[in-house]
Symmetry: C2
Subunit: 196 residues, 2 copies
DNA sequence: GACTTCTGACACGGTGTCGTGTCAGAAGGA
DNA sequence: TCCTTCTGACACGACACCGTGTCAGAAGTC
């Protein structure tokens, strides 16, 4: 464990790892998850496969790391937005959807990875788990629906999955709406079904 | 063009084509879209690649044929169910969702193909187009929302995409609900957002 | 300066898929 | 019977990706 260019071996390894993840996201945006190969990621990162296998077991592993990081960030953004939001359901819904939209809008690379996730076994599993989490968050923390039974879980699932679809379309310029209109409309739907 | 075993050359060709599509669906159910190769489909159909390339240009083409056929069938089922349904919005919603659920439940092979469609460029394009069609159908023919503006299109999109997600989960036994409860609950959501 | 560690490039064998080509034999027609 | 068409199996060359291995030289240490 020696120091190279002023950084320790561990730090260099972590920096390479981070570069690979960034390169992965760039590649996904460019060519899609399907055509994102280990070699393409390495080329973009300016590293060789040697370093890829130093940090990741295979392609699935780096994909899992990347999508999990995305969900963690989105969840954090929503929680942060909810802290300090007014207690009315309508406001909480607006703030929540706004945080989601902004977070996806901030990094289109991740948005594409999310959209294509259902086609990949590992990504789909993570995506489904994340949707469950967001659905629970929506029903309990945002809409304050009680009790949290199977029916409510289903409603949350529908709204969350539908929302991500709509936001994806909006990001791809498939919906001629402004950011605020989009957020407000989705929030209204959330509030409406929350009262069921 | 001679007759073999009593059927014309054209008919034999069409029969092989149909067998290949069936084999494709079986393969998709077994191993997923990603691992559905031309060779695997041929093996299951009991035919060789020779016959595959007789009817299809490549893997994408047979996938497109298969998913389009699915959407045509679902659309037909819904239209048939709506014919003769009572004019109340609630009833029409229930009948529509019921037809969708039953049609997907009838052939799990297609359900899996639909779920994984976003990961494949060709399938995703067809899926998105179909969702648009269903969203328009929902807003105009079922919920009778007017006028059909961008906001309503967005609402339809959200509900349709959310519904397919929920139904997929239900098919995969991820939701402990009976068929009728599932249908009724989704229909209620549709009616609720239709009034916005 | 001698020695060790790290770095990046390249090569390799293995595997799986594609799309085409070949060919012997079966099935049918004249 | 002779001839044509259809059939199914197999071979193949090409290509892409995977995961590992090798190696010379640069970067740092003593």
């Amino acid at each position: 464990m020696r120091s190279y260019r002023g950084v320790s071996a561990d730090d260099r390894r972590l920096e390479r790892r981070a570069r690979l993840v960034e390169a992965l996201l760039d590649t996904v945006l460019d060519v899609g998850v399907l055509d994102t190969t280990v070699e393409a990621v390495c080329a973009r990162a300016g590293l060789t496969k040697r370093y890829f296998y130093e940090s990741f077991g295979d392609r699935d592993e780096i994909l899992a790391v990347a999508i999990d990081a995305m969900f963690v960030d989105v969840l954090e953004a929503i929680r942060a937005a909810l802290t300090g939001a007014s207690p009315t359901v309508a406001d909480r819904a607006t703030v929540t959807v706004g945080a989601l939209v902004d977070e996806l809008d901030r990094d289109r690379r991740r948005a594409r990875m999310y959209v294509e996730a259902p086609g990949h076994p590992v990504l789909r599993a993570r995506r489904d788990a994340a949707i469950d989490t967001f659905a629970d968050l929506l029903m309990s923390d945002v809409l304050q629906a009680s009790p949290p039974d199977d029916r409510h879980r289903m409603v949350g699932l529908l709204v969350v999955a539908g929302t991500t679809e709509v936001v994806s379309r909006w990001l791809a310029d498939g919906l001629p709406l402004g950011r605020d209109d989009l957020v407000e409309e989705i929030a209204r739907i959330g509030v409406a079904v929350g009262g069921l």
